[in-house]
Symmetry: C2
Subunit: 332 residues, 2 copies
């Protein structure tokens, strides 16, 4: 549809994007306006969309490959939270007029790396030029066995609440990338920035949760807010033990620099870990899956019978959760 | 993900968009990050994405409802060209900070009207605020019986070339909306602007083409360019009879004002009619379908054995097709 500094839409797709569709016959080499997708028998389609705008959701000078990889991972994380496997990606790309061939090449290299790693071929999209900021919108399509899909709405009173990996790294990584957080050593900084720029969607873990978990969500708005979404959609309450929330060594080092930050970690977004609930009798099965996949899983609380979201903050670490912008929260 | 002048993302979705998902259980009330979709047994999924940016793909002061309806129709037209029926829509919406509640209300009303008319429920999306121009990206998902999907790559030598409806109205309507085309009467102007703002996706006709046509595309880049796409993807040539291309009464009136414009109509985009090829022996069946659905269908040429795209322009009406920006063309 559009022309810009590095050629018209057809050239641009042919040169940079069509190679990414090589392994997906239904992408029709990105020459058609639509893609065709086969859904395995007995499976339902799961569709997620995320939009990122330069200056808001990523920094203008972020490496182009990391921008591509982040939007893929953020979307795939939405599929992971439903227990779905990726089928394909559709990318809507609004490019500023001054985008260079070098930028496109590095962007496409990032797309390719993650598309291959996560078995999520690029099957379609649209590319337009604009005078506005670089804007990306990615639709991820996946499949999940009918009757097994996980949503945020299935939590039951008495469920245990679990989270994969560690929480707060994304928010700390953003702080470092912005130059707002100082005092950590280089390795800690690198670790946190990597966690921010290249979150790892827990796809395999999500698939294995089917049949074991009652509800799941990925931690994108922040642990507290996302647990609030589960509570709202499930019509339940929750009790979260702040001291149980798993933190990386780097995050613990950041906390030692400023004890007041625990609340920021619990309310910071961009972790893309899975937050899920399951009946306590499934604990052993969940730990076996975690061990199989070498993913850390930590129990951080329980689902309660209404009454909103309560946080047990132990000896009072300065949680100021009422400022977090989330909902359905009252201090425990 | 975003805040803007009319409330945060959750408020905005709850107030304006969630009501549109009421009829689609898999939309989960737009409260989840992903939607769930059932695909009828034996069918494949078709996915199309279109992106529109204010100032480029629509005019900033276009009625908000028409902006919504245009992006839906443009996308559904891509499904129509593959013979697919709509399953659902996912909307990525980048809103300028100064968007008003009134604008959102009118935009949502347009979404609702077309979503209902074309049986294409809104099942998901993402809404963010930005300092850039209003940007919309819509993913339309549809389903088509396995083994029957139409693409632009199936044309065979000897096929007849057909087009639905009339050609050139979209380009003329845009000219009128921009104030660049004058001299028509009010009814003609209204007709053409309506054709530009609210193209009608030929969904039912597309479904009926399955089993009768070899290749199809919707006329979005312009008749000549889109016929070129069929030729390239099918590895064939084409002979187009310019005088046979169907024009509306309003377009004929515009031509009488300036005979030189026929080339503009054949290369202008935004018609969203179906351009398709079929073996000549299917002519009677195609005419029966056209009659059933009260859609005009006109034969405008033939598929040839390579040699690019030839245009028979009769007694020379001033076609200047070499300036059209399309490909695989040589003058006949």
């Amino acid at each position: 549809m559009a022309a810009n500094g590095i050629g018209d839409e057809f050239d641009l797709i042919a040169k940079y994007l069509a190679p990414l569709a090589a392994g997906a016959p239904g992408a029709l080499g990105l020459t058609d306006d639509a893609a065709i997708l086969d859904v395995p028998a007995g499976q339902r389609v799961v569709a997620a969309v995320d939009t990122m705008v330069a200056g808001i959701h990523f920094l203008g000078d972020d490496p182009p490959g990391d921008i591509a990889r982040k939007i893929i991972r953020v979307n795939l994380s939405d599929l992971a939270a439903m227990g779905a496997r990726p089928l394909g990606l559709l990318l809507a790309l609004v490019l500023p007029r001054d985008v260079t061939g070098d930028w496109m090449e590095r962007f496409a290299a990032g797309l390719k790396a993650d598309s291959e790693e996560f078995h999520a071929p690029l099957i379609g999209g649209d590319t337009v030029g604009s005078d506005g900021p670089l804007t990306l919108s990615l639709t991820a399509l996946g499949a999940v066995p009918a009757g097994q899909v996980l949503t945020r709405g299935g939590a039951l009173t008495g469920d245990a609440i679990y989270v994969t990996g560690t929480i707060g790294d994304g928010a700390l990584g953003l702080g470092i990338a912005k130059g707002a957080l100082k005092g950590l050593d280089q390795a800690q900084e690198n670790y946190l920035v990597e966690r921010y720029r290249r979150p790892r969607p827990r796809l395999e873990f999500g698939v294995r949760l089917l049949g074991h978990a009652h509800a799941a969500i990925d931690v994108s708005d922040g642990l507290i807010a996302d647990l609030g979404h589960i509570c709202t959609c499930s019509g339940v309450g929750a009790r979260l033990v702040a001291q149980a929330v798993p933190l990386s060594n780097a995050a613990q080092a950041a906390l030692r620099l400023d004890q007041g930050k625990l609340a920021d970690l619990l309310t910071g977004g961009d972790d893309y870990e899975l937050l899920f609930t399951a009946p306590p009798e499934n604990d052993a099965a969940l730990r076996a899956i975690a061990s199989d996949l070498a993913v850390d899983v930590t129990r951080i609380g329980s689902i309660t019978d209404g009454g909103g979201l309560e946080v047990d903050d132990g000896d009072g670490l300065g949680l100021k959760l009422e400022n977090g912008g989330y909902r359905h929260f009252r201090r425990g």
